[in-house]
């Protein structure tokens, strides 16, 4: 026989002013199974809690109902009190007679009757509760960071510096991400490689960071603290362990191909690295453009390699790792040429995007840092920059502001003027958004010191005339039509999610927004977490970000990972689903309904049944509602409990 105790709180006059608490206690005493009922002014106070503890011990209570404020207020207080008195905390239920009764009704009789009904329902529920223990999971103190751009490297370094090992997976052949393509960086104009190279070297050398370049994450299973990941190493057709990085192969390879890294402005060899300071400094063969793979002949690299590292037979290898947390830092891209044909982009060689301008301006770029226009190599005297190309344009499906373009365009105008002192930069803009430390001052410098001419308005057309590009637009401030004959047109194209990261969201079961940027758990309060526990975001994978913001967010993600790793075990709410195998028919109707992919088939001797991974289950109960055999049981909210509440409330 159950021994339930009922504690009806007055909450001063908050409850007792409307509800006759003594009558509620009286009615409770009449419920079979209730062996104790009392009222008190404030059960949440120290003496109030002591009364509950005392009753639990003296009356050997097997369950407690506290009729008081909403469970969101003091459920944990009363559960803790029960635990201290030796009663399992999950055998405590709250009857909400304040927020949902005394505060919303005025008729004393009605409110008292309703409060008694709520108490009776909770007694019916608690009678059917079972003692539960919080779930405990081990934590593997090793992190996986996906993406080796500045954000990924920052997160990896912070975690490793705290003493936890990190695996850094980068899909490209080298670390650095977009930043490796940049020339100088706003707002300080320090050269990108001067700040990037030391950071990259630090990551590569760190004893606790293992860099897996040219690799991809293929599969992720498990849950926070205990993920199992499969990482595939793509074939580079060069044995990187044997390779000594002499790059003779790159020098001697006869095959020249346009380089993506140089945004098509320069060429690379079919074997080689993206840029001389690449880390790891190991070459990759571009299979699609290699003569050996096309025709079965050539093999110059294999012949020249002093250590015999070239291996045309190399295949993909997959390894498995266990990690406790994952940081996603897969970065961003800019609108591809194919997606944006306006302003003659992709048609006229002297219409380029800003990333290409970075390469033109880079001392290790295709022109050794001399700004030359692609068509004939001449130094442009007049350059038109167009901002918001694709961004802030709902018709093109990108209503958002790409955030970084105002700043890097001001930077481009400055750098151009420093190299071509008699040149003129024109900037078509919608608004200049320079909210950041030293950012507005930076834009002002471009105008005042470097003579950039800002024209507010949209460009209507760009077309070639007499070897130059005619840019036609309107200056909406003066209302005048403007026409500029330019040598070079630079488009600040919208920042977009990476194509390579699309599949990753699915593998990780992390949400993306309508544009494909990864979604944070809460836009203000949980900006580096995802809805999946143990998976965090860093940098421009979440939205367009500049370097300093990417780094800040990466350190935030690392701090979250380290907080997880500071514990030996993770505790989770035990109110999860469980299968009654004797009733389960194995239909698995529950499997596709579970939003957390927590349900898997399990083989018994003679048949299969569903089984719930308690680490993944979040306790929503969707499966319990879908189960036709009544085999899926959601602890704390079982069919039996809810039906008992229904029955009581209808009396």
């Amino acid at each position: 026989m159950p021994r339930i105790g009922v504690f009806v709180c007055w909450c001063g006059l908050n409850i007792a002013g409307t509800v006759d608490v003594e009558r509620v206690a009286e009615a409770a005493r009449a419920i079979p199974g209730v062996v104790h009922a009392e009222t008190y002014k404030y059960f949440c106070s120290e003496p109030g809690q002591n009364l509950i503890k005392q009753a639990i011990q003296e009356k050997r209570l097997s369950g407690v109902v506290v009729a008081a404020c909403s469970p969101s207020m003091h459920e944990s207080t009363f559960r803790e009190a029960a635990r201290m008195a030796g009663l399992n905390p999950y055998l405590v239920q709250i009857a909400n007679i304040r927020e949902q009764c005394s505060w919303v009704h005025t008729d004393r009789e009605e409110a008292t009757v309703k409060a008694s009904a709520i108490v009776a329902a909770m007694v019916a529920k608690v009678r059917r509760d079972e003692p539960l223990e919080p779930l405990k999971f081990p934590v593997h103190r090793k992190a996986l960071v996906i993406g080796g751009g500045i954000a990924g490297m920052q997160a990896a370094t912070d975690i490793a510096e705290a003493g936890c090992p990190v695996i850094l997976v980068e899909q490209g052949p080298n670390l650095g991400g977009r930043m490796a393509q940049l020339s100088e960086t706003f707002p300080t104009l320090d050269c990108a490689s001067c700040i990037l190279t030391p950071r990259t070297a630090e990551v590569a050398r760190h004893p606790l960071i293992e860099v897996l370049a040219y690799s991809e994450v293929r599969e992720v299973t498990g849950y926070v603290g205990d993920f199992t990941v499969k990482i595939a190493r793509k074939p580079a057709y060069v044995d990187w362990d044997k390779c000594i990085g002499c790059m003779l192969c790159q020098e001697k390879c006869p095959r020249k191909i346009p380089s993506d890294f140089e945004r098509g402005l320069g060429s690379r060899k079919a074997i080689g690295v993206n840029f001389p300071q690449a880390v790891p400094n190991r070459p990759v063969i571009d299979r699609e453009h290699c003569t050996y793979f096309e025709k079965g002949k050539c093999g110059v690299c294999a012949k020249i390699c002093p250590v015999g590292a070239v291996d045309f037979e190399q295949t993909e290898t997959v390894r498995e790792e266990k990690v406790g947390a994952i940081v996603v830092a897969t970065g961003f891209d800019v609108l591809p040429r194919e997606a944006f044909g306006e302003y003659g982009y992709g048609k006229y060689p002297d219409v380029i995007d800003s990333l290409a301008f970075e390469r033109l301006n880079s001392s290790s770029g295709p022109t050794d840092g001399v700004i030359r226009r692609p068509s004939d190599g001449k130094i442009p005297r007049e350059v038109v920059f167009i901002q918001c190309v694709g961004s802030r344009d709902p018709d093109k499906g990108k209503p958002y502001c790409s955030k970084i373009c105002c700043m890097y365009t001001a930077k481009h105008a400055m750098l151009y003027r420093h190299k071509v002192p008699d040149g003129q930069a024109y900037i078509f803009y919608m608004d200049v958004r320079a909210g950041g430390k030293g950012y507005e001052e930076f834009v002002q410098r471009a105008v005042e010191a470097d003579g950039a001419l800002y024209l507010r308005g949209r460009v209507a057309r760009v077309y070639p005339e007499d070897g130059r590009l005619l840019v036609k637009g309107v200056d909406t401030l003066s209302g005048q039509a403007v026409e500029i004959a330019a040598d070079l047109v630079v488009l600040a194209t919208a920042a977009v999610p990476r194509e390579e990261a699309r599949g990753l969201a699915q593998i990780l079961k992390v949400g993306t927004d309508e544009h494909g940027f990864f979604s944070e758990a809460h836009p203000k309060l949980r900006p580096v977490e995802t809805m999946t526990r143990g998976i965090f975001l860093a940098g421009s994978v979440q939205a367009p970000r500049d370097i300093s913001e990417s780094v800040a967010q990466a350190s935030g993600a690392a701090a979250k990972v380290l907080a997880l790793f500071s514990r030996d075990e993770l505790a989770a709410d035990p109110l999860v689903a469980a299968v009654d195998e004797s009733r389960c028919s194995g239909c698995l109707a529950c499997q596709p309904i579970c939003p957390y992919h927590a349900i898997e088939p399990k083989a018994l001797k003679d048949r299969q049944v569903a089984s719930v991974n308690a680490g993944l289950c979040q306790g929503c109960g969707a499966c319990a509602a879908a189960c036709r055999s009544g085999a899926m049981k959601l602890k704390g909210f079982t069919d039996e409990q809810i039906l008992a509440e229904v029955g009581t409330l209808c009396l």
Partner: protein, 140 residues
């Protein structure tokens, strides 16, 4: 049955949105009829149609199933199942001869205390007009 008959509504409220919205109605001291009695569930997707039927069989005059707005479910997709499931259940109840006003599915967020109070007022008024549920109530 006395002359002062008052309807009885059983409400299933998801703990993240509607239950919290009902709490907000309380903290805002919004007055509404005492006909409603809530059962706290993790998600509206937890509510098995058999719970609704049971409530009617035991004499509830009205039943409310309420959760987060579509797209806002704490578990992302729970209420989408609720929506699909209960459009069928609603038709089934009407087929059984229950007046449509007796059963409502509502999306009420944690910020919509007013809306919660309003729904209870509306339902209570409708049920007062319709009178007791005699159709499905089991004789006891």
């Amino acid at each position: 049955m006395s002359l002062t008959w008052e309807p009885r509504i059983v409400g299933f409220a998801c703990r993240w949105c509607t239950y919290a919205g009902a709490d907000l109605a309380g903290t805002s001291r919004l007055e509404y009829p005492a006909a409603i009695r809530l059962i706290r569930v993790p998600c509206s997707g937890r509510v098995n149609p058999s719970f609704v039927l049971r409530a009617f069989q035991r004499g509830a005059d009205g039943v409310l199933v309420a959760g987060c707005h579509p797209g806002d479910c704490h578990y992302t997709s729970g209420n989408l199942f609720t929506r699909r499931r209960y459009s069928l259940v609603k038709r089934f109840l009407e087929y059984l001869g229950m007046e449509p006003e007796r059963f409502r599915v509502e999306w009420i967020s944690a910020a919509e205390g007013h809306r919660f109070a309003q729904v209870v007022r509306e339902m209570t008024a409708d049920l007062r007009r319709l009178g007791p549920n005699r159709k499905m109530r089991e004789e006891t």
